[in-house]
């Protein structure tokens, strides 16, 4: 080999990369100047009384909260600059496995902002909220129809809260049978929220290993199934992107002992319009409207996690329920004797429900199967394009996502999954989900979604090919990636060892350091 004694890594690394916009911008508090205002609140000429007129001295704030003082221009500039440091779906491909980062249609946003939606008070008289109630009722029915369930609640604020709600319903059901039971079976491929939701209901998690094919086997479930098991929690397709082929047999094993089958609906996008979870043995399931039904992720919420169930669990659904009267009008019913109660105030993340309903109307009955069809086609096409570039731990035709590992790459070049992920940032892509599911070492979990074109998938495959090539030729470029982003890799250990969780006066300026 010729001696490569090179110039610096960064110089080589930044050829043909994507340059990220980068204005420096300090913490908003550092831009504050006493006396500056961004909003006029008080009408000119109106004098404001002293709060001592109404409140005892002890209840009155002694020093104002340390909020920044900015002009509107300075505030807006701060937020726009910060926004420029984010990568988002509208920038480019975002194949984050299990998160379903599909395009978020703009008409959904317009609908949620209509006056009658955004400015409707939750305690408005029902007669003046018929549009909202009809929308929610229709959405419940449509989701029930898509999933093969009898009823839905739209109340949970996120998928994890939906899981929690479903487990509360499971507990209520068993309690009504005389024994709430003590255990929940959870496959080793499950999301971390599953065991945490079980624990919040007083259930102990029992892990079940998936079989060699990466799916759960009814025989394995039977070995640990007994009358203390309240439920099994199954994600289908699972986090390896594989359909749980034995789901009906698993359900039979669980049902025979009086247990219930919880479905984690995170991956409904692969099934919509083709498989109804309620028809293959699932008793209760949460959905993530921010995945399958295209509502935006918002940098981590708000989501929405409706829960659907089979008939025998409907008495336990949270209140209020939406009821349609004989005359076609709608009302809210708080009086359901078996209900678990409520998991949040009011009725749910209504703004997200408006977006999801708008999406369903745009896609329509005959478009449902297209969503799952094209998401599975895209995943399989991308996997085919990648050929043997990366090691794939499980065979079997994947559905909407597939999992690769760094096994081969690491052995040949020393380059690991994290390096690949960070280099993808340089090339203008959001990385896949990494190091999950936990059962796969060095996992790269790739979910393209149905809203991407084949050209995008081909370009992404090209980027991964380039990375593998670089790994062989010049691994340093990868170990030190990213090079083109505003910041390099961040020190997580330092953050956890010496937590700085808020700005305090006298802090060094952020972002202007170099």
């Amino acid at each position: 080999m010729s001696e490569k004694k090179p110039v610096d890594t960064r110089h080589r690394a930044v050829r043909d990369v994507v340059r990220h916009v980068s204005f420096d911008e300090p913490a908003v508090f550092e831009k504050s100047v006493p006396g500056r205002r961004g909003t006029r609140i008080t009408p000119p000429g109106r004098s404001l009384p002293d709060p001592g007129a109404w409140l005892p001295e002890a209840m009155i704030r002694k020093s104002p909260p340390g909020l920044p003082e900015l002009s509107e221009n300075e505030a807006v500039r701060h937020w726009v600059r910060l926004s420029s440091w984010n990568f988002c779906i509208d920038h480019g491909f975002y194949p984050l496995g299990s998160c379903t980062m599909k395009y978020n249609p703009k008409v959904n946003e317009a609908a949620a902002r209509m006056e009658g939606m955004a400015r409707l008070h939750p305690y408005a008289p029902e007669s003046g909220a018929q549009g909202a109630l009809e929308l929610m009722w229709s959405l419940e029915r449509a989701l029930a129809c898509i999933c093969g369930f009898d009823a839905f609640t739209l109340q949970p604020a996120a998928g994890a809260q939906g899981e929690l709600t479903a487990l509360m319903m499971i507990r209520a059901h068993h309690r009504a049978q005389g024994n709430p039971r003590s255990k929940v079976l959870i496959p080793d491929t499950a999301h971390g929220t599953n065991p945490a939701s079980a624990a919040l209901n007083g259930y102990r998690s029992v892990a079940v290993e998936s079989g060699e094919q990466g799916i759960l086997l009814a025989g394995d479930v039977a070995k640990v199934m007994d009358e203390e098991v309240a439920a099994v929690m199954i994600t289908n397709p699972n986090t390896l992107g594989l359909f749980e082929r034995e789901i009906r047999q698993v359900a039979r094993v669980v049902h025979e002992k009086g247990g219930l089958v919880f479905g984690d609906g995170a991956n409904l996008n692969a099934l919509m319009g083709r498989v109804k979870p309620g028809e293959v043995g699932i008793d209760v399931m949460q959905l993530n409207l921010h995945k399958t039904f295209s509502t935006p992720h918002g940098g981590g919420g708000p989501g929405s996690g409706p829960v659907g169930c089979v008939e025998k669990l409907t008495p336990y659904l949270p209140v209020p329920r939406i009821v349609r009267d004989e005359d076609g009008s709608f009302h809210l019913d708080e009086k359901m004797p078996g209900t678990i109660g409520r998991v949040r105030s009011f009725y749910g993340n209504f703004g997200m429900l408006v977006r999801a309903w708008t999406y369903i109307l745009a896609v329509g009955r005959s478009g449902l199967g297209d969503v799952s069809g094209m998401s599975v086609l895209n995943a399989n096409y991308l996997m085919t394009l990648l050929g043997g570039l990366f090691h794939r731990p499980y065979d079997g035709t994947p559905m909407h996502e597939f999992v690769l590992t760094d096994k081969k790459l690491k052995k040949e070049t020393g380059v690991q999954t994290m390096d690949v992920a960070k280099r993808l940032l340089d090339l203008g892509y959001h990385p896949p989900t990494v190091y999950f599911p936990l059962v796969v070492q060095g996992a790269l979990m790739i979910e393209p979604t149905e809203t991407e074109t084949p050209e995008t998938l081909e370009a992404f495959a090209g980027a991964l090919e380039r990375i593998v090539r670089e790994a062989g030729e010049d691994p340093e470029v990868l170990h030190e990636a990213p090079h083109a982003t505003r910041l390099g890799r961040l020190d997580d250990t330092l953050a956890a060892r010496r937590p700085v969780l808020r700005w305090t006066p006298g802090d060094e300026e952020d972002g202007n350091a170099s």
Binding site: W85, A142, G192, P302, S345, V376, T451
Partner: protein, 456 residues
């Protein structure tokens, strides 16, 4: 509708994969007997864009009670001023269509915004730290009760009857699965019928070494400002923590920060700080505590650190508390925060500043105090409570049933409420009235005139 594939695309892709059709591809992945035979009659047929907009507009228009007129409704959702810049900023794709900031190098916008949010929330609540937000005020209060149980290793939670009933209901629901069969771990402490504040005598009588937390509203559901100092003292003397729930966060512009008065885990609903009422959601839960208790705290946290080049930056941190690492031993099952809503609050507060928030609070309170006096002077109405209040008060209709009152107001494009009888049988004919800085003299004249006409 949103799939870009042309017939030619599909043909080319299938050929490359080596399969004849999409259905055939599905058949490889899913056993045939699992496929549904159809039946999607409750899903409407697809709409063209114009019809779609028309349909949504028609639904929106049927919400005739939306606050296009004047809004005097409260009870945990408030129509305060929202600066138009807030919606412009949170509508930016960079914030709207990003995921949870796992890849810190390309998520610094979201991460720094959350860091600033945590700082502002800590300032409002008077705590050392605050998390990246919870789902809403009610679930934040429930998570605080759970946290108090972890910190104190005790089980009972005493909840004030004057705490918003839906918040109480959520706390009961959250804790139900953890109690032994037949044991009630959430107990209610009544309120004083004259002041509308928590009955501190009853509270003192029930406190003991089995109590993890006392939970009160601040202000409470009647709009009354609780005497946190004495409640905190009683709780602390018994070794319990004080959890406060502020459903109307604008109050914190003039009210003393709850932690300063002794709240150990102050929580709040942030909707009034930059979000529309939106039929009750999405909102955003605010949650703070001391540094010492931070490792017991639920929810996401953002911390400051440095990158490989020594530049300051932000990351998600202290994940050891969280479900994806600790699984069943996590502090909560919460997976994300209310990202975009937390951003809205942060943008809004950056535009208001401390003085803007104070003026908003003062105007809201001044409007409420002037209005209560005028309504109580009307024939057919009387005050219900005499405790100090912020921008919300209870008023009893002596002659006309409250449902008729609400209907009469609605006919005049006015909205007040909720009616407290829905939760409190002893307050059967009592209406909650709430004010914001958005209401002017004419709005209040209109409400008084309407009540005069309808209420006698």
């Amino acid at each position: 509708m949103y799939t870009p594939h042309t017939d030619e695309d599909i043909r080319r892709m299938l050929e490359r994969i080596g399969v004849g059709s999409v259905d055939e591809l599905f058949a490889r992945a899913v056993p045939g007997e699992m496929l549904t035979s159809g039946g999607f009659e409750d899903v409407p047929e697809a709409m063209d864009l114009a019809s779609l907009i028309k349909t949504m507009r028609a639904l929106s228009d049927r919400n005739t009670a939306s606050c296009i007129g004047s809004c005097f409704a409260g009870g945990g959702a408030y129509a305060h001023l929202v600066h138009p810049a807030v919606d412009q900023i949170i509508s930016r794709s960079e914030f709207l269509t990003a995921y949870t900031p796992y890849q810190a190098e390309v998520s610094q916008g979201t991460l720094q915004a959350v860091f600033e949010f945590q700082t502002m929330v800590a300032e409002l609540l008077g705590t050392q730290v605050a998390n990246a937000s919870m789902y809403d005020g009610a679930s934040a209060a429930a998570e605080a009760a759970l946290m108090a149980r972890r910190v104190t290793k005790r089980n009972k939670v005493l909840v004030s009857e004057a705490l918003h009933p839906e918040y109480r209901h959520v706390i009961r629901t959250y804790l139900a699965g953890l109690a032994p069969e037949g044991v009630e771990e959430v107990l209610t402490i009544g309120y004083a019928k004259d002041t509308g504040a928590t009955d501190t005598v009853a509270l003192a009588g029930r406190l003991g070494d089995d109590v993890a937390a006392v939970v009160v509203g601040y202000p409470n559901v009647f709009g009354v400002v609780e005497d946190l100092t004495s409640i905190a003292k009683a709780a602390h003397d018994a070794g319990a923590l004080l959890v406060t729930a502020t459903a109307e966060p604008v109050s914190l512009g003039i009210l003393e920060a709850p932690a300063v008065l002794g709240a150990d885990i102050p929580t709040a609903e942030g909707q009034a700080l930059g979000l529309p009422v939106s039929f009750g959601g999405p909102g955003v839960g605010l949650f703070g505590c001391s540094k010492k208790k931070a490792r017991h705290m639920p929810g996401r946290l953002v911390g400051r650190t440095v990158d490989t080049r020594g530049k300051n930056g932000y990351v998600l941190t202290l994940a050891m508390r969280e479900q994806h690492i600790r699984r069943e031993r996590a502090t909560s099952n919460i997976c994300t925060n209310q990202g975009l809503c937390a951003l809205a609050v942060t943008v809004h507060l950056s535009l208001l500043g401390p003085e803007g928030l104070r003026e908003q609070a003062l105007m809201s309170a001044a409007n409420a105090h002037a209005l209560r006096e005028r309504i109580a002077a009307l024939d057919g109405f009387e005050d219900v409570f005499d405790g100090p209040f912020f921008n919300e008060f209870a008023i009893r209709s002596k002659r006309v049933p409250v449902a008729d009152l609400i209907e009469g107001l609605a006919e005049r494009r006015l909205l007040a409420g909720p009616a407290l009888g829905r939760w409190y049988p002893e307050l059967a004919n009592v209406l909650l009235v709430s004010t914001t800085e958005c209401l002017c003299t004419q709005d209040m004249d209109a409400l008084v005139a309407a009540l005069r006409e309808v209420g006698r």
